[in-house]
Amino acid sequence: MRVVICAIAALSVAACATTPVPNMRPLNEAQIAAIGPTRVVIAESDHGVAKSWFMQDSSAAGASYGLIGALVTATMDAIMNAAPSRRARRAADEIAEVMPVAELNTSLTEQFRGQIVATTPPPPGIVVSEVSTVRKLSTPGVIDDAVEVATSYVLSEDASTLRIVAAVTYQNAAVPYATPYTFEGSVPKAETMGPVYRNVFTYYSQQLPVPTLTPELQARLVESIQDSARDDAGVLPVEGTDAFKAMNKELEQARDGEFTKGEIAIFLAREWAKDDGALLKAELDSAEAFITRYVLLDMNQTAVPSFQGETALVETLADGRTIRRVGAGLDAGSYISSPANVSSFATYGNAVGIARIHEDRLRVLRQQPRTRAE
């Protein structure tokens, strides 16, 4: 028994001592030559443009008071979270009206189609030979010998910035992953399997100017809160109900003279949606151009990221937008495209609101039978 305990303890310590390596996995020259022309598969977006918010959780505080404590904190959390989650959903609803998921998917697919190389013989290195889409919800699993691109679209807490993240992987049974890192002792299991290439590309939109709270804006804020609290028949919540308490709390905050990020988002989400989403579409075009260009550049280079390197400025565009390659930590090797002259501090919360139309669609998709990816 003592031997078993010692062995488990030793294993636990050994697990803790594993040297961390960046998430990014570069290809080497032999792998690049072996892959050559390859297809790109876009994983269809299911959530569309989501809106982030901060979810509160006081369950740990109530846990020491037993069932009563749990019930009290659950009610408190429900009241505190009701307003921000409803606002986030509403912002996502407004955006979904001008930017349905189908348009997001088509737009990115077309950008990659623009990269297809049809010349014979193809140029050396990795090039795009064809582009298709896949619905991961109904066809889960890894697609062999294809560059898989999965994107997420999230508005910041105050909706001033749109963040687009593309997670790109390439896996091929004929080209296995060989870790470029050396480890003391055995190679960790995670470094012996999985995709041969992996990286993340993050695009931040230009930052919308944050409005100043004026009496007129405050009046519009109050009106907006009451509107969103009404039920389908247009009736305000009944006094004493949780919905009434949540609305009152929201109204109190609206009248306190402070303009919170959640309140700002009510107005800025509309800026993204106005003119049939013109601003949103312009940013999406810019993000997709960055993603398609840098995915191919990165797949054709062999630089191995270091956990303790330095961030490199890769490119500065005419409008001051910068593209950087992260130098340190788990994100080392990933690319970030940021706008110039940012002023307001962006936050992305720990929860997202998804448009009702997307949630309904997801519900239907989940009920359909699944097939495995080939």
Binding site: F54, S343, F345
Partner: protein, 134 residues
């Protein structure tokens, strides 16, 4: 030890614990110092030279007791130190607060992170000038 002695010991013990607790709660404003230095610790400023002769200046300040304005002030102060004059160009490309998680799923805004490019214009910046932690 008599009753009076025990009371005195209890009182002294309580005062000591109270004092220690209060010391623990003492709030210090973030020091203007280099990240990695004794004064700054994990907070403060850091900068590296970019290939085009500029500087990449980064400021990190704690989520509590710091403000957005303080982060911008630190950045400008560092820029002034590097350039030696206020006639510099800056391009702040990142201002964000990563999410701090607590309990099970709760979250709140984390540390203030401010990053940007600095160009002193007309003044050559060399790698030797780059700030290094002590």
């Amino acid at each position: 030890m008599g009753m009076r002695g025990r009371l005195r010991a209890t009182l002294l013990g309580s005062l000591a614990i109270g004092g220690l607790t209060l010391t623990g709660c003492t709030v210090k404003p973030p020091a203007y110092a280099m990240i990695g230095s004794k004064e700054g610790g994990i907070y403060g400023y850091a900068d590296t030279v970019t290939p085009d002769g500029g500087r990449l200046v980064r400021v990190v300040l704690p989520a509590t007791f710091a403000t957005p304005q303080m982060a911008h002030d630190f950045w400008d102060r560092r820029a002034l130190e590097i350039c030696g004059h206020a006639d510099y160009r800056k391009n702040i490309f990142a201002a964000y607060r990563p999410t701090l998680r607590y309990d099970h799923y709760g979250g709140r805004p984390g540390d203030f992170n401010l990053e940007g490019l600095l160009y002193c214009d007309g003044q050559t910046v060399t790698a030797a000038d780059s700030a290094q932690p002590d």
